[in-house]
């Protein structure tokens, strides 16, 4: 690699690393410790670094255009633009590698696990190469400094607004939620890789000077054939595949802790276990004391797994971090076992179910020092006969567990407040 533009490395790496750091910062959410999520976050750093690399390549080509009276007299003149793109992509790759190192180090430093689809990392360099060649090819034909500004904006918007397969190819992650129970669909990754490689080949062709191409009609032909074949095949296969790049696995929540209420999460989410276990056990103990017959074990639901009826369902949306505050933890334990009544989107449980659940949560957190319970629930908790209250808690929780949602009723004293 020539050293001409190496003087640019120091400053060009900086924005790339800042962009990568922004992605790694994960919007302020805790790091997950989930390998596939880590891999997706690394690959997803190109959502920002790709457009930046495109702009950098454009800037380098615009700058190198000033030397054309000289470079045009050299045998490698045709490769000047490709070289600038390669250098920009190379810088992006350095940032990508550093991002990967940091992300892997963080994941190793926390409780981690789950499937690791390392092959999905190949998509990042391909996105960088495609973005770099896009910037370089555009700057070759529009050698103006504004091109270097327009390219990153355009590439970012293309990844956001373009029709399929634009966003799929340019926006590989990062997802914000857990990828537990999912793995990369390597076929989809392969189709995307083919499409990106073909696109890069065709853009390389566009970055070769159209006139007086002493280097290599053969290289041009090879690029054209390779670009059309791989790009065409990849695009067709991408378009005929589902837009999701993950498939459901048979992963089970087999990392368990605690007793008597045992909590089981998938290995990918095991970092959450230490966070939620004390709170879950505390809330479970209160509910038990209030009369609820809790199952001995709660398991996380996964895209490919629902706990059996005798096991408690510990579930929120798979994308959410598991909460730690008592009310939210109590809500976690209120979820009915898997049953059509609850999961049928056309017949969601009614208001009474929701209010009854709220009342159960109030029972679970009533003794919390900072619990704020007002209104009729407060009155019911304070004035109801303990035996009657215990009976309602036992009956309601059992109905929830049995998924008999029709049987989930508010106490009579509170039903009057229900909307018609």
């Amino acid at each position: 690699m020539s050293r001409l533009l190496r003087t640019d490395v120091a400053w060009a790496l900086l924005p790339l690393l800042v962009a990568s750091a922004l992605v790694l910062q994960n919007g302020g959410w805790p790091w997950r410790g989930d390998w596939n999520w880590t891999i997706d976050t690394i690959a997803g750093s190109t959502v920002l670094t790709g457009p930046l690399v495109g702009g950098l390549a454009a800037w380098m080509v615009v700058r190198a255009a000033a030397l054309r009276p000289l470079t045009d007299t050299t045998p490698r003149r045709a490769w000047v633009v490709v070289r600038q793109a390669g250098l920009a992509a190379g810088l992006g790759l350095v940032a990508y590698a550093l991002t990967a190192l940091v992300a892997v180090a963080i994941t190793l430093a926390v409780p981690h696990g789950g499937d690791a689809g390392w092959a999905a990392l190949v998509i990042g360099p391909l996105v960088l190469a495609a973005c770099a060649m896009t910037g370089a090819a555009l700057a070759l034909h529009l050698p103006h400094p504004l091109t270097a500004l327009a390219v990153p904006v355009g590439l970012f918007l293309l990844g956001d607004l373009a029709p399929r397969p634009g966003p799929e190819l340019l926006r590989h992650g990062p997802v914000t939620g857990s990828l537990a129970g999912l793995r990369f669909d390597l076929a989809v990754i392969a189709w995307h890789s083919l499409a990106l490689a073909g696109l890069t080949a065709l853009l390389t062709l566009a970055a070769l000077p159209s006139r007086d191409t002493s280097p290599l009609p053969r290289a041009r032909a090879a690029l054209l054939v390779a670009g059309l074949l791989t790009g065409g095949t990849g695009t067709i296969l991408t378009m005929s595949s589902p837009p999701e790049r993950f498939v459901i696995t048979a992963e089970r929540p087999d990392v368990c802790a605690g007793t008597p209420v045992q909590v089981c999460l998938p290995a990918a989410q095991q970092r959450q276990l230490d966070r939620i276990l004390p709170g879950v056990q505390q809330v479970a103990a209160r509910l038990t004391a209030a009369g609820a017959a809790l199952p001995d074990r709660f398991e996380a639901a996964l895209p490919g797994y629902r706990p059996p009826p005798e096991v408690g369902l510990l579930a929120r949306g798979i994308s959410d971090d598991l909460p730690t505050d008592p009310s939210a933890l109590a809500a976690l334990l209120m979820r009915p076992s898997p049953c059509p009544d609850y999961f049928d989107p056309t017949a969601r449980p009614g208001d009474e179910y929701a209010f009854a659940t709220e009342l159960l949560i109030a029972v679970a957190v009533a003794t919390e020092p900072d619990a704020v319970i007002t209104g009729p629930e407060r009155a019911w908790l304070q004035q109801t006969d303990p035996a009657e209250r215990r009976s309602w808690v036992a009956r309601t929780y059992s109905a929830l567990r049995a998924c008999d949602l029709e049987a989930v009723r508010l106490p009579d004293s509170l039903r009057a407040g229900l909307p018609e």
Binding site: S2, L5, T7, D8, A66, L70, R83, S214
Partner: protein, 268 residues
């Protein structure tokens, strides 16, 4: 050196906008050092750019007589020093030459040595790590020369190479042009007869897109009398000063050159 052809330009035609620079210019360059002379706008730089392949002529061809006819081959064997070049000021001298070494297909393992040799030949060794913005005008000219000789090309095209050089550096340039065994053919464009005279073995004068003189410098000097006769007081040519009688007047070469630029007179 022999006059065996090395570089041949056939029937070149080129125009900028509506201005015709050449209409049908042919020139053969042998294993020799050729001085290219002409007034501003005569087409010297355009010709050098076409010969160096950085400019594609509207018509005509440039070829090496012992080449394979490809542009790549031509570019491998020609070194070109442009009159000016906007090299980014932040680039370091060694990096710039390293880049040019890549462009000129110097193998990676030889690039460092090639850069060092070129810098030594142009007396820029101490500037290897300097930024281009820190070079004086003369140093920058030498840097452009250094990149031209980097790959030791058999054909060297230099556009105004002596501009901004001090006498010692001009002497150094002459040595490079005369003493390097790898150099077969040199074309030097210059306004300075003084610089060209000790170096070139053949002089080509361009005027209005045509070759109006092609021969040794001595022959050009021999035409001085013609200019002085026509420019003498009372002649039809007007009242030009008597160059010989005036301090700072024209040399024989300059006078001979000026005689070429006169429009053809009426037949006598």
């Amino acid at each position: 050196m022999t006059r065996d052809d090395v570089l041949v330009a056939d029937h070149l035609a080129h125009r900028y906008g509506g201005h015709v620079v050449f209409d049908d210019l042919s020139l053969s360059l042998g294993a020799e050092r050729v001085g290219l002379l002409g007034v501003n706008g005569a087409g010297k730089s355009t010709l050098l750019r076409i010969l160096s392949t950085s400019l594609v002529p509207d018509r005509g061809t440039v070829r090496l007589t012992d080449g394979d006819g490809s542009l790549s081959d031509l570019r491998r064997r020609i070194g070109f020093m442009p009159q000016a070049l906007p090299v980014p000021g932040t680039v370091r001298v060694g990096d710039f030459l390293g880049y040019l070494a890549w462009l000129r297909e110097i193998p990676r393992r030889r690039r460092g040595a090639a850069v060092a040799t070129a810098l030594a030949r142009t007396d820029l060794t101490a500037q290897h790590d300097a930024r281009v913005s820190a070079l004086s005008g003369g140093m920058f000219r030498r840097l452009l020369l250094a990149q031209a000789i980097l790959a030791e090309p058999p054909v060297l095209l230099l556009d105004e190479p002596t501009a901004g050089l001090d006498p010692q550096q001009r002497l150094q340039l002459r040595r490079i042009l005369v003493e390097q065994a790898w150099l077969r053919a040199v074309v030097v464009s210059s306004h300075s007869f003084e610089d060209l005279a000790p170096v070139v073995t053949r002089t080509v004068v361009l005027h209005d897109g045509r070759v109006v003189f092609d021969g040794p410098m001595s022959e050009l000097a021999g035409r001085a009398e013609e200019h002085r006769r026509e420019d003498a007081p009372g002649s039809a040519a007007g009242s030009a000063a008597d160059d010989q009688a005036r301090p700072g007047g024209l040399s024989d070469l300059e006078a001979g050159f000026l005689s070429l630029l006169r429009p053809p007179g009426p037949p006598t």
